[in-house]
């Protein structure tokens, strides 16, 4: 396995036992932050003023409407490292709703997947076992062939408030399945509810791939893993087969021969590498006879509303993202979750720079009195890509290897913006029912900010309109497979994607083995 980024050691690299922790995000190491550039991100239109980011305790600056939508500071948020973005993911572990594989048939939006829930179910079960997912078995339409490996976590004060408020207004909130250990499991210790999953879990109980799949694979002695090794080109031979990889490692360029290539660089770097590998036989890039490589890019349609609830206590305690409402149905195409901790309202700096305004002794008193009263609801919804949404090669900007940066263009369609409004209003409703005064909001309308990205090498039966088949094999190259979020034909209805990425990858592994 060749990984461009460095390895991270949970014990030494995630210093959550040191003061000043709130000033530190997930640690940056040389080579752990990929560069991207941005093309067309659409406009922030005046008609979407009600979806503008604002906060009572933050800067009074307002993005002007009618102007291009900027990328947020984090923009495309990801980690390059052994374990990829699961190193800083929260660990929501979602199966796609069975209907989400048939979005076009059910709603007329997007496309249908060439694979369905029943085919993926055994892989979902296996991935949950490897990660150690904790959940509660009443998942409704997401039927299961086996119970969750671990019982659900106790509900945090914020989750309890949302479940109670949701019940009163017809939102059926419940336990969110989480890749965090509710009991010791697989030689890993149980979660102690420090609330910091996105800063990197120092206990190693969060189910990131470094401490689960990769640890187990390395334990077999069959995996050779080389970190800080960036693949810069795939080289083709007869019959379109990939015969060699060109890579940079330790200041040198190497050529490596290979019988099979599984590309898993994520939905930005995978199309980039395919486009960078263009050769005279494949002038538009590899696996791109359909012209679909880099197209159909889907960003994260997201919303966060946060407020203060005067009778709430200790909302900074518990497991992040522990409660979910799966939303009003497939037409609506979104879900809400409890996001107080994951959105950073778990320390005083978050409160002082977002929730509580003012200065002086009154401010210090308000901070002390208000701390533990934050309550935030996040939403993620289905995105259908606009014609302009795609990853291309930047015509000018280059990385340290002299290679063109990936350039992200992403434009939200009117339907996506309407969905965002529906999400925002549902989030506001449950917060108000829980007694919150809303003091901070942010979302995709006024800023591009993406944690879940998909679609740039999509799967499908028809080689004219897709890049890989239902098992992840590229239509154009018999020994080139793709196993990451770029193969998703649709974004799902707001489900977090990692469980599906991993399940599809195991299915791909089986297909390679069978072949």
């Amino acid at each position: 396995m060749l990984e461009a980024g460095p390895g991270f050691d949970p014990v030494t690299d995630y210093p959550l036992d040191k003061t000043g922790w709130e000033r530190r995000g997930f640690p940056a190491k040389p080579g752990s932050q990929g560069q991207v550039s941005y093309g067309d991100l659409g406009l922030f239109e005046a008609e979407n003023e009600d979806l503008r980011a604002w906060s009572r305790g933050g800067y009074p600056w307002r993005a002007p409407s009618g102007q291009p939508r900027p990328a947020s500071v984090s923009g495309y948020s990801h980690v390059m490292g052994v374990g990829g973005s699961t190193l800083h993911y929260v660990g929501e572990s979602h199966r796609l709703h069975p209907d989400a594989f048939n979005t076009f048939s059910k709603t007329g939006e997007g496309v249908d997947w060439p694979v369905g829930y029943a085919a993926l179910e055994p892989y979902y079960t296996l991935v949950e076992k490897v990660l150690g997912v904790a959940g509660d078995d009443g998942d409704g339409a997401r039927w299961r062939s086996a119970p969750y490996p671990l019982p659900a976590h106790p509900l945090s004060p914020g989750a309890q408030a949302l479940i109670a408020a949701g019940k009163r207004i017809g939102q059926g909130w419940g336990v969110n399945p989480r890749a965090a250990l509710s009991a010791a499991y697989d030689d890993r210790t149980a979660c102690n509810y420090c609330g910091q999953c996105s800063r990197g879990c120092p206990l190693g109980d969060k189910g990131s791939t470094d401490v689960t799949f990769l640890r187990q694979a390395l334990g077999t002695g069959n995996l050779q893993l080389l970190s800080e090794a960036t693949v810069i080109r795939l080289i083709t031979g007869p019959n379109g087969r990939i015969v060699q990889l060109e890579l940079h490692h330790a200041g040198q360029t190497h050529l490596v021969e290979t019988p099979v290539v599984v590309l898993a660089g994520g939905a930005i770097q995978t199309p980039r590498l395919l486009l960078l590998s263009a050769d005279p036989e494949h002038p538009d890039g590899l696996a791109n006879a359909s012209g679909q490589v880099g197209r159909n890019f889907m960003e994260t349609l997201n919303w966060v509303s946060a407020g203060l609830v005067s009778d709430m206590r200790n909302s900074h305690m518990g497991l992040p993202a522990d409660a979910i409402w799966w939303g009003p149905g497939i037409e609506a195409g979104f879900r809400l979750n409890h996001t107080t901790l994951e959105t950073g309202l778990n320390g005083p700096i978050g409160y002082g720079t977002r929730l509580i305004a003012g200065f002086g002794s009154g401010f210090k008193q308000a901070m002390r009195a208000g701390f533990g009263q934050a309550l935030a609801v996040g939403g993620i919804g289905r995105v259908v890509p606009d014609e302009r949404s795609r990853v291309t090669l930047d015509p000018e900007l280059r990385d340290v290897h002299g290679l063109a940066l990936p350039r992200i263009s992403s434009v939200l369609t009117p339907a996506s913006l309407q969905r965002l409004r529906h999400m925002a209003n549902a989030a506001r409703a449950v917060l108000r029912e829980a007694g919150a005064e809303i003091v901070s909001e942010s979302g995709s309308a006024s800023e591009f900010s993406a944690t879940h990205v998909f679609g740039t090498a999509r799967m499908g039966e028809d080689p004219k309109h897709s890049v890989v088949n239902a098992f992840g094999r590229t239509h154009d190259h018999p020994n080139l497979w793709i196993a990451d979020a770029s193969v998703f034909p649709g974004s799902g209805d707001g489900e977090s994607p990692s469980l599906t990425i991993m399940s599809l990858a195991l299915r791909t592994a089986d297909a390679i083995h069978t072949q």
Binding site: L16, D17, K18, T19, G20, E22, R23, R24, G25, G58, Y59, P60, W61, V73, S74, S77, E92, P154, S156, P157, C191, N192, Y193, C194, G195, Q196, S198, R199, L203, V304, R313, N314, H316, M317, G318, A321, N337, T339, E342, T343, G344, N346, G347, P348, I349, G352, T353, G358, F359, G360, K364, Q365, R368, F371, G372, G378, I380, S442, S449, T451
Partner: protein
């Protein structure tokens, strides 16, 4: 998970501040930077300490900003960026010129009134922009210190103990 800007923690948050006031750079160009405040080695910035202690004074639970050396943290931060340095020099100079005495020698009520006016001022002008940038930088450095969270239901750091239940 959706919103992740907070995750970018200190460095990008601080760089966003730089971006936010770049629009002001033209109006800052005329401000000479004194010897004690050259980029890379700021040793003194006029009334910075008094401004910080008006923003974050001592009370019965926790010390003032300067008692926790937030002034030094802010100067180190400002020293990294020429535009930021110019903004601070311009704004602090302006604050000292508002009366016949420097800001730090004014009675508390007057200092509070000045900061309140700056808080409400146009964000695209130096006083308003300086207030909000300084407030947020100061909060970040101040509340990163364990002494500042006395009276909070928080440990100095989330690990090694975590926050096991019960939570009510």
């Amino acid at each position: 998970m959706p919103d992740s800007d907070w995750l970018e923690a200190a460095a990008p948050r601080l760089s966003r501040r730089s971006l936010l006031f770049q629009a002001l750079s033209a109006s800052l160009a005329g401000f000479a930077v004194p010897v004690l405040a050259q980029e890379g080695q700021v040793q003194s910035l006029g009334s910075l300490g008094s401004v910080l202690d008006t923003l974050l004074p001592a009370d019965e639970f926790s010390p003032s900003a300067t008692a926790l050396r937030v002034d030094q943290d802010v100067m180190d931060f400002v020293a990294q960026n020429q535009l930021m340095l110019r903004l601070f020099v311009a704004a602090l100079g302006w604050m000292d010129s508002l009366s016949d005495r420097p800001f730090g020698e004014l009675p508390a009520q007057q200092r509070i009134a000045i900061l309140s006016a700056m808080e409400q001022a146009d964000y695209n002008q130096i006083p308003g922009r300086f207030f909000h940038i300084l407030r947020s930088v100061a909060i970040e450095f101040y509340y990163a210190r364990p002494e500042a969270i006395a009276g909070y239901p928080l440990s100095p750091a989330p690990q090694p103990a975590g926050y096991p239940p019960p939570w009510s």
